[in-house]
Symmetry: C2
Subunit: 344 residues, 2 copies
């Protein structure tokens, strides 16, 4: 059901509220994710701190080591937790009880060992490949402001070594747009998508960040049109991708290129787009939003868990909302409780 | 006002509710702490996990690398945060607005850099000395059970290089009993106490752990009697030190050897012992106890902040209760808010 097979909405034959056919024949995993393996360094700071350091709230900036040292030195007490967008999603999927593998690269250092432990600890099959010896494990300095918004500054990304066997043997391949900031990743994404499609698997992509989309729009447009069966993103990312005035214009454009998407729309919830319908899904109420880091990652986790479990699409979205609500209710980008216990 | 100068309660001349005279002449710091520089690796687990791994709730065990690997591998997702008992206390003191220095040793690795950052970030003057190159930065694997009790497993402790100038120039020296598990620390404690006393400063010690006291009772007894002007500890530690049946028998013994102590008694609060009186201090109410790690460390922080600020003893205890209440209301051994903002 790759979007390569057609250009219009009618090319994706969906029964209302049903998910597209998935090929789980001989699959070892429900989902395999590819992304930047990162350890998050999380600190609280004021809006003035963002201003003083030229940071724009909600953005993800790529920074070099000097900038990282400067920012880290200026920040208060921090907490270190494993993160990385697709890695968070795979942890969420495992936490729901589905099976997940992860392809990402760390170094043979303290933070690399922390990252590997935290993946294995929740049951994700971490396919690290070899270690890079010449650069430290990637990290993301995350500043949480009193309004619970997170502003990320990421440096030292490693290119992942693709594990073809893992990709072939997962029902869904999930790729993280953030990786696109590395040239070699563009080639790797195409290669991974072809491995998955040759094995009859579904290919999904998350756009990750509207500025990342802006930096690589043409490549993203071509990838979505050529290879992506299921697109994740938020309102701003979709508008950035298609450069439209409104969200619904972007959805119309999207349908010409990819017939299946799950788009989060902040506090309003999410909208599931298929070739012939839009399904609106509400959010799950949270007592207090503490830190929005990981909200989109965990939404994708719930959605993919539902999809690979055979749930109707509206339920897939609800599972996404449940997982997102858990992760924004505390500091840190991964669930603190087993998500399967939150499901009725 | 060293306890060396007398053997009985009458040797400590205190006006009711007043703290003993402190010598802050020419002092650069209010307090200098010496302890194990550690990064805490904090994970949640069940009581069954403790049973399965032969862990006794509330204890601190010293473990070797193999044991650390085994435990860490068995635990779920963890969070890394700077810790170390005396280091936590110095951070609390700085957070109240008093000045603090810290003497402890880390390696030139990721976790060593994390530790150093987190000390400097709250304004503690971190006197790290040189790096040990042959062993990693120490860490403590902390298992938090659903009742919020913490069980600690600490490995790879570094001996601190004493910084004589820092010790001379602090009104109070604060030493952490945990360090006593290293033979060289026993000599270092004596040496540090003599530097402080020669400069006319107050020497304080925290007993840290009843099993640590049990392992080194004779050395602790001699140190308290010879060098300690102000003793911190909890009920169990004091009973372990003097091997009495009851807490009040232990207090009677204590008064023969050291005329000034602040002893926490769990949910009942704390008792301040002077030569001629006992001052009972209540706890500060907490909505929900989440993780008791750091409770004693932060009690000492509040107490020492009060003491060096000239507050009456009962108020010193209250400041201890305020700091302890903050730290047990969240995961992690250090305050998440500036403690000065919690003071009326």
């Amino acid at each position: 059901m790759s979007c390569r097979e057609g250009a219009g909405a009618a090319s994706v034959p969906l029964v209302t509220g049903q998910h597209p056919a998935l090929n789980g024949d001989g699959a070892r995993y429900d989902v395999v994710g590819i992304g930047n393996a990162l350890v998050d360094v999380i600190a609280h700071a004021t809006d003035e701190f963002l201003d003083d350091h030229g940071l724009t709230k909600g953005w993800m900036d790529l920074i070099d080591t000097d900038r990282a040292e400067l920012l880290y030195g200026a920040l208060g007490t921090a907490v270190e937790m494993s993160g990385g967008s697709a890695a968070n999603t795979m942890c969420g999927i495992a936490s729901f009880g589905s099976s997940a593998a992860y392809i990402g690269k760390v170094s043979d250092d303290d933070l690399g060992r922390v990252f590997g432990h935290d993946m294995r600890a929740v049951g994700v099959d971490f396919r690290a490949g070899g270690h890079d010896t010449d650069m430290p494990t990637g990290r993301s300095i995350i500043v949480v402001t009193p309004d619970a918004e997170r502003t990320m500054n990421t440096y030292l990304l490693h290119a992942a070594d693709l594990d073809e066997r893992a990709i072939e043997s997962a029902t869904v391949l999930y790729m993280e747009g953030y990786l696109y900031d590395r040239d070699e990743a563009k080639h790797a994404f195409r290669h991974a998508a072809r491995i998955a499609h040759d094995a009859g698997r579904m290919v999904s992509l998350t756009l990750s960040d509207s500025f990342c989309v802006d930096r690589h729009r043409d490549d993203f447009l071509a990838l979505v049109s050529d290879e992506v069966d299921l697109l994740f993103g938020n309102e701003a990312e979709l508008i950035s991708l298609y450069q439209t005035e409104t969200f619904f214009e972007a959805v119309t454009e999207l349908r010409k290129h990819c017939g299946f998407a799950a788009i989060t729309v902040g506090a309003k919830g999410s909208i599931i787009v298929t070739g012939d319908e839009l399904i609106e899904v509400g959010v799950k109420a949270v007592n207090k939003v503490v830190d929005t880091t990981g909200a989109g990652d965990l939404y994708a986790a719930g959605f993919l868990h539902g999809l690979t479990s055979g749930a109707p699409l509206a339920r897939c979205g609800e599972l996404g909302s449940i997982a997102a609500a858990e992760v924004i209710s505390h500091v840190g980008p991964r669930p603190l409780v087993e998500l399967r216990t939150l499901v009725d």
